[in-house]
């Protein structure tokens, strides 16, 4: 067994496999299938200060090797999370991060302040890249000025590990990554979903109620790898890579490109135990290639 532990700022992860926000609920939904505590960490559902109903149905479209969603951050709000969900998560021996979102900087701050009080939540993932909400969301993640504004504002009130989740829908992700780092991000995660669209030709209507939505799944992996690679060249903080990871080989590719940890998203829908298989597969790879630690391959692409 190789050494799978990695550090993301102050977080010590027993292995580099986390679950992506919006694809793993609060972990609880997976109790029937697996021991959630075996994971390096889980990132819970997008959370906002006020409860959100999310978008109308339909919210999903299947695409070639992928899917679109336009859930739109449906959640019962940060206070409900703190009082009704958080206590149930204490049973898990893993790092639980809350994915924090908002329509205004004030909302981000208010939400982060509530999460900051929760002892067993060692970090947040600041979602400045959700393509499925009308105001805020992705808009924050597409310019240096707005990234600086929201990241440094939250940095003032949030004192544990702050991961900033970048949007892939941009011209120069390296530049935006540097903004986020300079504004106080302890780590960067990417990619969120790509803005996309599906049409029902027979009915001549968009499939999603919101017309456009976010693309995820193996279709996006090549784009995600490229962006992780670019961000890894641009910043010093550790990177959490994701986008289309379906198996251990995919995960290894992200480590080689420069990610210190990875998140698994859409793949959880197809196989709820996939994260455990990926952990095993990473270990296998290290053994086969005679690496004693996962850290030996992070950024190890030979170019």
């Amino acid at each position: 067994m190789g050494d799978l532990t990695v550090s993301i700022h102050n977080l010590k992860l027993k292995n580099p496999v986390l679950t992506a926000s919006g694809t793993f609920g609060y972990g609880l939904e997976y109790d029937d299938f697996m021991d959630v505590s075996l994971l390096g960490g889980i990132v819970v559902k997008g959370t906002t200060i006020h409860p959100r109903q999310g978008n109308d149905y339909p919210r999903m479209a299947e695409t070639a090797s992928g899917m679109l969603n336009s859930v739109g951050l449906q959640n019962k709000g940060a206070k409900y999370f703190a009082t009704d969900i958080y206590p149930n998560l204490l049973k898990y021996d893993t790092n639980i991060l809350v994915n924090v979102s908002g329509s205004t900087i004030e909302e981000y701050i208010a939400c982060a302040e509530i999460i900051n009080e929760l002892d067993h939540i060692p970090g947040i993932e600041l979602n400045i890249s959700c393509p499925n909400v009308k105001e805020g969301g992705m808009a924050f993640g597409t310019s240096c000025a707005s990234i600086e504004a929201v990241v440094s504002a939250v940095r003032k009130v949030y004192h544990k590990t702050m991961v900033v989740k970048l949007s892939p829908n941009v011209t120069d992700i390296g530049e935006l990554a540097r903004s986020a780092e300079a504004s106080g991000a302890d780590s960067l995660s990417l990619i969120n979903t790509l803005m996309a669209m599906a049409i029902d030709a027979e009915r001549r209507k968009p499939i999603l109620s919101t017309i456009t939505g976010g693309l995820s799944g193996p279709a996006v992996k090549p784009i995600a790898l490229r962006q992780v690679w670019e961000v890894a060249k641009s910043v010093k903080v550790p990177i959490i890579g994701m986008g289309g990871i379906m198996n251990a080989t995919d995960a290894i590719e992200f480590f080689l490109a420069g990610a210190s940890a990875i998140q698994v998203g859409t793949a959880n829908y197809l196989d709820p135990m996939i994260t455990l298989k990926i952990i095993d597969g990473i270990d296998d790879y290290l053994n086969r290639h005679k690496f004693s630690s996962i850290n030996d391959i992070i950024g190890g692409l030979q170019v």
Binding site: G25, D32, G54, R59, M60, N69, Q74, P272
Partner: protein, 259 residues
């Protein structure tokens, strides 16, 4: 039974007609109780276009053989690929999923109304109701007589009525044109329905008018099937609910349907 993902073995693939198949899938483990209304989510391998799992009602369960059967109506690539499953091969199956139909606690006279592949969710319900000595009537609507399959199965559990749009069998027209819904509805204490949305809306409307208990099993596009993607919502008086975990069975009183 708690949710599991298993490689179930295809022990039979019964072709009912051109586009209706029944797969019998066997578990290596002892099956625990599965409730009428629950469904399974099947992985479609060997298809270049299908990405997500496909949900199907659990048509019947045989606890002695540890098998579940799935009734498949071919409508696209996923159902087509599954309908070709070879006996002896395995299908990666997530089950049992979803809530369940609410059964009467005392003997009642109940009506089941099914259309299209919706009938699939009603067989185990009919069986349970029958075993608990309820008086069961089953009304099945289809486009044409060739789409009316498995009627013998249903008739084991109650009186079967049919309608066809083209009049080739039973009453001509939609299920709502059938006297049992049109005229005799008030003789029933409960109505359960599963089928195309317009059909369920018509049934729900009639039940509501007569204040009869009515549960529907909804279809929906699903990415996960176990409550984590939040893609499969339906609007209720309590806000958005997930069809895959808080449904697929809903009482019409909580649905915000315009009926």
């Amino acid at each position: 039974m708690r949710k599991t993902v298993q490689h179930l073995k295809v022990i039979a693939n019964l072709r009912l007609n051109d586009d209706h198949h029944i797969l019998v899938l066997q578990s290596a483990d002892k099956l625990e109780q599965i409730h009428p209304g629950q469904f399974a989510n099947l992985l479609v391998e060997n298809s270049s276009t299908v990405f997500l799992r496909r949900p199907f009602s659990i048509y019947s369960v045989d606890y002695a053989q540890n098998t579940i059967s799935i009734y498949i109506k071919i409508i696209g690539e996923g159902t087509r690929a599954l309908s070709k499953a070879v006996v002896g091969s395995e299908i990666d199956t997530m089950f049992p999923l979803g809530n369940k139909f609410t059964l009467p606690t005392e003997k009642e006279k109940v009506l089941l109304v099914g259309g299209g592949s919706g009938v699939a969710s009603l067989k185990s319900l009919a069986q349970s109701l029958h075993e608990k000595s309820n008086e069961v009537a089953i009304l099945i609507g289809a486009r044409s007589s060739k789409d009316l399959v498995e009627l013998d199965e249903f008739s084991k559990y109650g009186t079967v009525y049919t309608t066809t749009e083209d009049g080739t069998q039973g009453v001509k027209g939609y299920v709502t044109n059938h006297p049992v819904l049109e005229l005799e509805l008030s003789t029933f204490q409960r109505v359960y329905s599963c089928g195309p949305e317009p059909m369920m809306k018509a049934v729900a409307k009639k039940a509501k008018e007569k204040s009869i208990f009515c549960e529907l099993s909804l279809e929906n596009t699903m990415a996960c099937g176990f409550g984590v993607c939040l893609c499969c919502i339906t609007t209720t008086i309590d806000g958005h609910k997930c069809v895959c975990t808080e449904g697929p069975v809903f009482n019409i009183n909580i649905l915000k349907w315009e009926i």
